[in-house]
């Protein structure tokens, strides 16, 4: 059992874990009832899955070729920073364009407040 075999095992485990995570979360795309719950699956598990795969790739190139790839680190940082922002933007635009919550939802404290906010915005834009 030499070093490269151990590294191969570690990389394989990490890549497979990431793959299973992203597969399961895309399964959530089919099963979950509305867009808001789907965004939970899209932002959290997909991010973690891609993180695992990229870290596995990083470890592979580091120990097999002695190459510390700055591009890969930048990619990891970028995915980390942008995935939650994208998820937030999607559900925000969905709510503002009037996509309904699923029937099983129990609580919605935003609806009345959003009306007030929109009225305020219109009032300010007329004035200015």
């Amino acid at each position: 059992m030499n070093v490269s075999a151990i590294i191969e095992i570690i990389v394989a485990v990490m890549v497979l874990a990431g793959t299973v995570l992203s597969l399961l979360s895309s399964l959530g795309f089919i099963r979950l009832p509305d867009i808001y719950t789907r965004s939970h699956a899209a932002t959290k598990s997909v991010t973690l899955g891609i993180l695992f795969i990229l870290l596995g790739t990083f470890i592979y190139f580091w120990f097999m070729h002695g190459l510390i790839s700055i591009r890969l680190l930048l990619g990891i940082l970028f995915v980390f920073l942008t995935a939650p922002v994208a998820g937030h933007l999607v559900i925000r635009s969905a709510y503002r364009s009037g996509v309904k919550l699923s029937d099983t939802s129990v609580k919605d404290e935003l609806r009345d407040d959003l009306k007030k906010m929109k009225q305020l915005e219109q009032y300010h834009s007329k004035e200015g």
Binding site: V15, S22, F78, I91
Partner: protein, 94 residues
Amino acid sequence: MFNYLMLLSMFLLSVSIVISLYRVIRGPSMPDRVLALDSLGYSVIGIVAVLCIMMDSHAYLETILLIGILAFLSTIALCKFIERGVVIERERDH
């Protein structure tokens, strides 16, 4: 053995791309499609990374960063289009 495992993970990522495509085509509302396209981009990033390991070359690592940036920018542009109806706002309009 290692190569077969990588091939297996590539196959599973392709399956998750197909599932996302189902949501892109079928999705009842527009934001659904945007969300599915976003996660499809992340699956493509994963496939490129696994391809790099399989071919044992670091030539494709730029592609990861590029696809990530493109997916994020397209998501933002589409969201703004859904919310406001325009992508680039001019100051003169209001």
